[in-house]
């Protein structure tokens, strides 16, 4: 488990460096668009009597640059063409840097691909000295039974969800409490290694250091779910371009994450094929006229579609809106049914509250709320990300919830397993490695 989280620890160090420097980029690599936000962390106002040093406050950040470009070389949230993806990331970063008039060196990345898998981990340990210390927490986290999730997979999140001390459970922070047996429930999310490494490589080729990696479903949940929803239990369904990320939150922790490899681009493809249009025209018609619930009047609404074969002026091609709905609806139903399956597998119905929040670009189709309510059951709403200081209105829509969530996550990081010190007997040569790494980085 030591080797396992070494990359994560490195990223954590880089994130701290970035926050100390005050500038960090957030990169959401999707199949449809790549958006980059440049965050500026403002130094904390020195309090009266406090030592005369200005330390950047974790919480207070401001978005100073936004760059959103069409994604290239990404399919199903995974990199399929490194060179293309690198160029797309480059242009997004350049745009955001230009707007911010700042150079960024560190980026936190989120993506929805990589076939996430969730594991519930348990660990138990005897408390050393009656009172639970940070060292005990490190030991219990290190002592979790890690299932064999495969050599080619990478743990991206490992969140301690719940601590139990003897017979008391539901503790968020057991430090200082007295007990004998400390046990922990941990949620670990793994992604396929290759897509992760490819993406990191792409970002590094843009001269950026990866200071964190997140599953986009997690990031969307952080930005979109209300506090009570996070507390009582809610599912966030981030329907993106190429894939749909699902995560379930409970007691302010992600307890399940998954992804469906279907998204808005598939709807566009269907329109392409069904109505014989070019991809770009189909995308435009989907966004302008698209819908999911047909009414009588939709039969009479004729949408003019461009006809590349037109010979003369009057050779026009139109489709009725109900035809368009008829093409779009089955695909959306398919996506939502897939989501339903995943949620059923996660045991979502056992949660006290079953709020479902839809977000992502595709959640903007009119009528999806209705349809999702019918398929997923329960209370469904469309989620928009929290308002963040400095974010322009165009980038505050549902399509940007994972980018905003990453920004929030960067400023208020959740405790991950690797944030705690491992017990010394397990560290081995880590200190020396750290020293060597420090030398390498600085000389």
């Amino acid at each position: 488990m030591n080797e396992l989280f070494e990359t994560q620890r490195d990223m954590r160090h880089r994130r701290e460096t970035a926050i100390r420097r005050g500038v960090m980029a957030v990169l959401d690599v999707g199949s449809h668009k790549i958006s980059c936000l440049v965050l500026q962390f403002s130094p904390e106002e020195p309090e009266a009597g406090a030592p005369d040093v200005t330390v950047p406050k974790m919480g207070s950040f401001r978005v100073v640059g936004v760059g959103t470009v069409q994604s290239r070389g990404v399919k199903f949230g995974e990199v399929v063409d490194m060179a293309e993806t690198e160029r797309a990331i480059r242009s997004a970063v350049q745009k955001a840097q230009k707007m911010a008039n700042l150079r960024v060196d560190h980026a936190i990345v989120s993506f929805a691909g990589g076939r996430p898998r969730s594991y519930g981990l348990e660990g138990a340990v005897e408390v050393e000295q009656g009172e639970v210390t940070e060292r005990d927490i490190g030991r219990v986290l290190a002592g979790c039974d890690v299932p064999p999730y495969g050599q080619d997979r990478e743990a991206v999140h490992a969140l301690p969800v719940n601590f139990s001390l003897d017979h008391r459970t539901g503790l968020t922070d057991p430090r200082g409490q007295v007990g004998v047996k400390l046990s922990v429930d941990m949620h670990m999310l793994t992604l396929a290694g290759a897509p992760v490494y490819d993406l990191i490589e792409c970002v590094q080729r843009c001269d950026l250091e990866v200071a964190g990696l997140s599953f986009s479903g997690f990031a969307s949940g952080v930005s979109t779910l209300m506090e009570n929803e996070q507390q009582l239990g809610a599912a966030i369904v981030d329907i993106g371009g190429g894939s749909t990320a699902i995560s379930v939150f409970m007691r302010k922790h992600m307890i399940y994450g998954d992804a469906v490899r279907l998204g808005g681009d598939h709807i566009t493809n269907d329109i392409c094929q069904g109505l014989h249009l070019s991809y770009d025209d189909a995308e435009r018609i989907k966004t302008v006229h698209g819908g999911l619930v047909a009414t009588g009047s939709d039969n009479r609404v004729e949408i003019e579609v461009p006809n590349p074969m037109a010979q003369w002026e009057n050779d026009r091609q139109t489709v009725s809106r109900s035809e368009l709905i008829g093409v779009m609806r089955p695909r959306v139903e398919e996506i939502l049914e897939e989501v339903r399956e995943r949620l059923d597998a996660s045991g979502f119905e056992h949660l006290p509250s079953q709020r479902i929040v839809l977000t992502g670009g595709t959640s903007q189709i009119p009528g999806i709320e209705d349809l999702a309510g019918r398929i997923l059951g329960g209370q469904v709403r469309i989620g928009r990300p929290l308002r963040v200081q400095g974010l322009p209105q165009v980038s505050a829509g549902a399509a940007f919830s994972s980018a905003v969530g990453l920004a929030l996550h960067a400023s208020h990081p959740m405790d991950e397993c690797w944030d705690f010190e491992m017990p010394v007997d397990r560290i081995g040569t880590r200190r020396i490695k750290q020293a060597v790494r420090w030398f390498k980085q600085n000389w």
Binding site: R72, G73, R87, A88, V93, Q97, N101, R103, D207
Partner: protein, 305 residues
């Protein structure tokens, strides 16, 4: 998407007629990206925008300063531009006008200014010219300026002579504050002005004027004032001299004028009225008066002196 293989050997097609237009990559090239990031770096931007220009300017200035050929070139350029500007008709001065001043003074001023007209205005140093004009004795204040239509105006305030000063056989005119106005060949040139004589007289002109104002009732009889030892005045009448003290000369003179009003003292047989100690005036009689006095004393008291 760009093709992975740039050109396939087996299907090389000659498309000279219509070369296929490659759509430009919308993303920045790696070089562009790196350069822009470099440009956004704080220290680099400061270097390019502040330090390099500063350094270049210093180096250029130093090189230019130390190279004689550049100096020659630069001064030639400067001269060319200067002559070009000087040749403008707007700057030509054709006439010098002196609105006030006696003809003699005007001649003096023209001699001092010494411009070969026409001349360009930028070749004229007005401040220097004003100093030259002010250097003339007869000029109290002067202002030199350009006026429209090629006129250089020298406006002056003339010094008005108020006194004639004779010193070591030379005769000068002094104004009311004692500044030398001009030299005159003879006293009779300005017989209307009072005369002062002696070394240092020009430095006590104020006192002299005060004394002259006291002397106004007997103006016709006064020959002049003589400065004695650069310290005090003697007033010289036709047959009397009044010796005045160094301090309070005018008051002493006033007391003499009272004596004159009461006793006609100036018409008496007195050669010198000595008021050097004002509290104790002394009369020096002339020889006839003295012998007469002695005679009378002998007659009165029978004593012999």
């Amino acid at each position: 998407m760009l093709p992975i293989v740039a050109e396939r050997r087996d299907m090389v097609v000659q498309h000279e007629a219509a070369p296929k237009k490659v759509k430009a990559d919308p993303s920045p090239s790696k070089l562009n990206y790196r350069l822009e990031r470099l440009w956004l770096t704080r220290w680099f931007r400061d270097l390019v925008k502040i330090w390099l220009p500063l350094f270049a300017m210093i180096v250029a200035g130093f090189v230019a300063y130390s190279s004689p050929s550049f100096n020659a070139w630069a001064s030639k350029q400067y001269q060319d531009v200067r002559t070009m500007v000087a040749a403008r008709p707007e700057l030509k001065i054709e006439r010098i006008s002196i609105p006030v001043g006696s003809p003699d003074l005007q001649r003096q001023i023209l001699g001092v200014v010494d411009l070969s007209l026409p001349v360009s205005a930028i070749d004229v140093d007005l401040a220097e010219m004003r100093d030259l004009v002010l250097g003339l004795n007869a000029v109290k204040a002067a202002s030199v300026r350009f006026k429209a239509e090629g006129v250089l105006e020298v406006a002056i305030v003339e010094r008005m002579p108020s006194m004639v000063w004779r010193d070591q056989n030379r005769i000068y005119l002094l104004d009311e504050s004692g500044v030398l106005v001009a030299e005159v060949p003879r006293r009779s040139v300005r017989s209307d002005l009072p005369l002062v004589v002696g070394m240092g007289a020009e430095r006590a002109v104020l006192e002299a004027r005060e004394i002259f104002s006291v002397l106004a009732p007997v103006e016709g009889q006064v020959l002049g004032l003589v400065r004695m030892g650069e310290r005090r005045w003697d007033v010289v009448f036709e047959n009397v001299a009044v010796m005045l003290p160094a301090e309070g000369a005018a008051d002493a003179m006033r007391s003499v004028m009272q004596m004159q009003a009461r006793d006609d003292i100036l018409e008496r047989d007195v050669s010198i009225i000595d008021l050097r100690d004002p509290s104790r005036p002394v009369l020096r009689l002339n020889d006839e008066a003295l012998s007469e006095l002695r005679r009378l004393r002998v007659r009165v008291s029978g004593e012999r002196v």
